[in-house]
Symmetry: C2
Subunit: 129 residues, 2 copies
DNA sequence: GTCCTTGCAAATAGTTTGCAAGCCG
DNA sequence: CGGCTTGCAAACTATTTGCAAGGAC
């Protein structure tokens, strides 16, 4: 529980806080390597999982095989473009999020505690081209 | 495109049509092996992907590392129990499904074509124990 | 006979882990 | 110093693929 400071972890945290892509572990690795060429992929994975455990970041998947990481920890959804595969954030009213849970509970024999949604379609850029 | 008959594929199809668990490839493999002890995991994967391509079954993930397969191809959601990890189906009104897409589109700069939802909570059995 | 399908094994992708050395407090 | 953290490499899990033999039509 008592995490010690490490510049590698700080660097990962800072990168996630500033990027808008929702990077995979490998993307994080390649980015941090610019500053710390000796960092290892294992260290990246270890720190990403530590940050997830602490609730500093979240981990999710788009079903493409690798996990993705996001420093925005407030409740929101994700969108994947069917054409360029880029991942974006999609925020919705908390009231509507609750409504989805409530509606699900009406159709389900058990207790709904939450949900994740992955939207797909065409992002603005691909729509225009 | 022209698929030839194979008893292995038929067996996989039949098993998926009758099971209510949402099996991983490995679970399918272990089940089919009772009837065809020599079937290989590669054959199971190949056939599952063929069936997905044909639209006979769907593939989805709960984020636990392995893909799951479902012979119910009509639009519906999935639920994972936080305690026993079992996966169940969760059907909702098509009107509400459309409403979710519409609401998302209001909050997003791009075209929403669809979505998947993974609900989580406690299933009936775990609620009672 | 043609060519799709299979079993087997090797290869690949993503992630985790054991270990000795390094760094924080 | 003690113990968390790192780099490296090996191990693991899930899935895919090359190939020669087998089966469908």
């Amino acid at each position: 529980m008592a995490l010690k400071y490490s510049r590698q972890r700080e660097s990962i945290k800072k990168y996630l806080a500033t990027t808008k892509e929702h990077p995979t572990a490998d993307m994080v690795y390649n980015n941090i390597r610019k500053q710390y060429p000796n960092i290892s992929l294992g260290t990246v994975y270890r720190n990403l999982n530590l940050l997830v455990d602490q609730g500093d970041i979240i981990k999710f998947t788009t079903g493409d095989g690798s996990d993705r990481f996001d420093s925005k920890t407030n409740k929101h959804y994700h969108f994947v473009c069917n054409k360029c595969s880029n991942v974006s954030d999609l925020f919705m009213e908390h009231d509507f999020i609750d409504l989805i849970n409530k509606s699900a509970e009406e159709n389900f024999n058990g207790e709904i505690q939450g949900h994740d949604i992955l939207f797909y379609g065409l992002c603005k850029d691909c729509q225009e081209s």
